[in-house]
């Protein structure tokens, strides 16, 4: 016999969970008592939102399921932004929240909120557990659902008295769900049709999404890229699926993607889209997307096919099934694709050289592009870059070279400001041997800056680079370009002393303001072990370019810069 709380932790052990991120409270006191007694590894964040983003960063960096505990009512509602962030970006999480005790449910009791109802549209699946005997099965299913198929967050809301109830615990060996197998083996004929299309294409291109990283098939993807010798781009979440120095890699595509990637998409006659969902941020105006191309869509989730962009060919199924088959069929075809595509590839590479990601290196000030490029140079290939959301996020995607999958963590779909600091923390905990650098802004960092306390308490070695421009940069950029320079509520006055803030939390803080400090100061800071905050002052009016304005085609992007 054991109680529900112990059963939760026993089940987590059986699922291989090595750390939980969470925050205690009334409805989970018994659960936390079990954490205490069983010495279960747990990281106490300073806000439930910090816990869920940390679990997300941990999950993205490791490929394992991130686990979160929070109490009922406000504890659980504080998870919402993080759950939605994980859901949109297909990140596997299991969030266990306390609910008020059974007799109090529905009575508007203290700290009661309908967590099942609230989380329904932002989870892959969710549960309300009112009977302790259901707990082992539900936990088993939750982990299975979170990590299989298209991954996503699962919420288990547990009535407080369930944690206290003793029962005969047994963890199920297997999962029985009539409507979900987690396996998606498709129709091989669909792959044959794609090979046929590749054989007839003269200007093929690869467009790689986050699904390739989620399915851990980046190696196969890279073999296909080299076999075809075709130009390749990624989505924001696909960064790292192919190495930054891959011949023909044009950088990421879309609204702030590279000139070469966007132009080549518009020129190609076959676009192989793999594990991506055609977000409005990568297509530009959808009617003008890749107008000369047949679209091929390799996708696990049937609902994504034809949702935003109509596919001429689809390969429905798990990429772990389809990509190795595609690779084998391309090997067997006897064609010299790379030689056939050479001049087309060279044209794309020339475009890259013609308009690389660039910035104006004038003056004494530190330009964000120069800063990020310098940090990229100072980093090894194992460094995990994490971002917050806004201009700095786009600059990081443009100027930081990512070599490996799970090494560029960013909130792509939701664009959640405040994601970065806790996610970086979670990534470092999941991959302690990798260096972790966070790019954030003076806007974003304030949205979860309480987590500096968690970082200091646990000595989590994260280097936090604040790109400090005294404005909500992306909002300001849109106001500059489309709203007549009306900087409505976007200006930050720069009164916050981030160095002092770091010191107050118990971290080292540095401030860089002049260009030469990138050479004289930054290398030392980055090499010193232990967490640090680096407050880097940059000009306020720097735009992220290129840019595809809303409602325009990818080839109608605004260029800029020259270095």
């Amino acid at each position: 016999m054991m109680n529900g709380a112990q059963a939760v932790l026993e089940s987590l052990k059986k699922e291989g969970v090595d750390v939980v991120f969470g925050y205690p409270g009334g409805a989970v006191l018994t659960l936390y008592d079990a954490v205490y007694k069983m010495k279960f590894p747990h990281v106490l964040t300073r806000h439930e939102q910090g816990a869920v983003h940390a679990a997300d960063g941990y999950a993205r960096a490791t490929g394992k399921v991130g686990v979160v505990f929070a109490t009922s009512g406000p504890g659980a509602t504080n998870l919402i932004t993080g759950i939605a962030t994980a859901c949109t970006d297909s990140v596997p999480l299991v969030c266990i929240t306390g609910q008020v005790a059974n007799p109090y449910i529905g009575k508007d009791s203290f700290q009661e909120a309908d967590v099942f109802g609230i989380t329904t549209p932002i989870t892959k699946h969710n549960y309300l557990v009112k009977d302790v005997r259901e707990l082992p099965r539900v936990i088993k299913e939750a982990f299975f659902i979170a990590r299989t198929g298209r991954p996503g967050p699962v919420v288990i809301d547990v009535a407080k008295d369930v944690f206290d109830t003793k029962f005969d615990y047994a963890y199920p060996e297997s999962v029985h769900l009539r409507g979900y197998s987690g396996e998606y083996i498709g129709d091989e004929a669909e792959i044959d049709a794609v090979v046929e299309a590749i054989n007839h294409a003269s200007r093929p291109m690869l467009f790689v999404g986050g699904g390739v990283i989620g399915a851990n098939v980046s190696e196969t993807m890279r073999s296909i890229v080299s076999r075809l010798g075709a130009p390749v781009t990624t989505t924001l979440l696909g960064l790292g699926a192919v190495a930054a120095d891959t011949k023909g890699f044009l950088g990421f595509a879309g609204m702030h993607g590279s000139y070469a990637a966007n132009m080549t998409i518009q020129e190609c006659d076959l676009l192989l889209c793999i594990g991506m969902r055609f977000s409005d941020r990568v297509t530009g105006v959808v009617s003008g997307f890749a107008p000369k191309a047949k679209i091929v869509h390799f996708e696990l989730d049937e609902a994504e096919v034809n949702k935003n962009v109509a596919a001429d060919y689809r390969v429905l199924g798990d990429l772990r099934w389809s990509l190795p088959l595609l690779q084998a069929k391309l090997e067997q075809s006897g064609r010299a694709y790379a030689a056939e595509n050479e001049s087309w590839l060279e044209k794309a590479i020339d475009r890259s050289k013609e308009h690389p990601f660039s910035y104006q290196p004038d003056g004494d000030a530190i330009k964000p592009g120069a800063l990020i490029r310098k940090i990229s140079e100072l980093s090894d290939e194992d460094t995990i870059a994490v971002t917050d959301v806004g201009q700095h996020q786009m600059w990081a995607a443009q100027f930081f070279d990512v070599y490996k999958p799970r090494h560029f963590l960013t909130s792509g779909g939701q664009g959640t400001m405040g994601y970065g600091l806790p996610a970086a923390m979670g990534a470092k905990i999941g991959q302690p041997d990798s260096k972790v650098v966070l790019f954030t802004g003076d806007g974003s960092i304030m949205m979860n800056c309480q987590e500096f306390a968690t970082i200091a308490d646990n000595d989590i070695d994260v280097k936090v680079i604040i790109i400090h421009n005294c404005i909500l940069g992306m909002v300001g950029q849109w106001q500059r370009l489309f709203y007549n320079n009306h900087y409505s509520q976007s200006e930050l006055k720069g009164k916050t002393d981030f160095v002092k803030m770091a010191e107050a939390f118990g971290l080292r803080g540095y401030r860089l303001t002049r260009k030469e400090e990138l050479e004289t100061e930054l290398p030392k800071i980055m090499q010193t072990a232990g967490p640090a905050l680096v407050d880097v002052w940059v000009p306020e009016d720097e735009d992220v370019l290129p840019m595809v304005p809303g409602g325009k085609r990818l080839d109608q992007m605004v260029l800029g810069g020259n270095k």
Binding site: R178, G179, A303, K307
Partner: protein
Amino acid sequence: MMKKYLLAVLVDNKPGVLTHVSGLISRRAFNIESISAGYTEEPAITRINIVVSVESENELDQVVTQLSKLIDVIKIVNLSKSESIERELVMIKVRADRKNRADIINIVEIFRAKIVDVGPEDVVVELTGSQSKIDGIIEVLSEYEILEIARTGSIALSRGPIPVKRM
């Protein structure tokens, strides 16, 4: 042009299933004409009958594939695309007095409907049939004073011995 389709959705008979289905419908902004749910020949399965209104086949595919992704959805069959019998039940309360009661009874007979309750000031009419037949009787009875209408929404079964779960 909006077209209507009737989907038979077999789901696990578990708490929260209706929340998942209705949550998905609102999140994806689908147009639902009617929805009804009930027990089936298998205690573990609930059948939800959804009439969805869409502008294109692509939109219909979205409804089906998004619903299919719900973990507790076991199977979806579009019964409008196969041979099927579709029925809806309506109850209509009409104000009726001695002067017009005979006329109303006459209409009820023409539509092969039934009078299931009679009071001094009203009658309650019950009719089972296709949506168009129900719309028809409501239109005719509108000449009198309709006090209240309750409709179940359409349900359907395929023709032949094969049940939806084996289709």
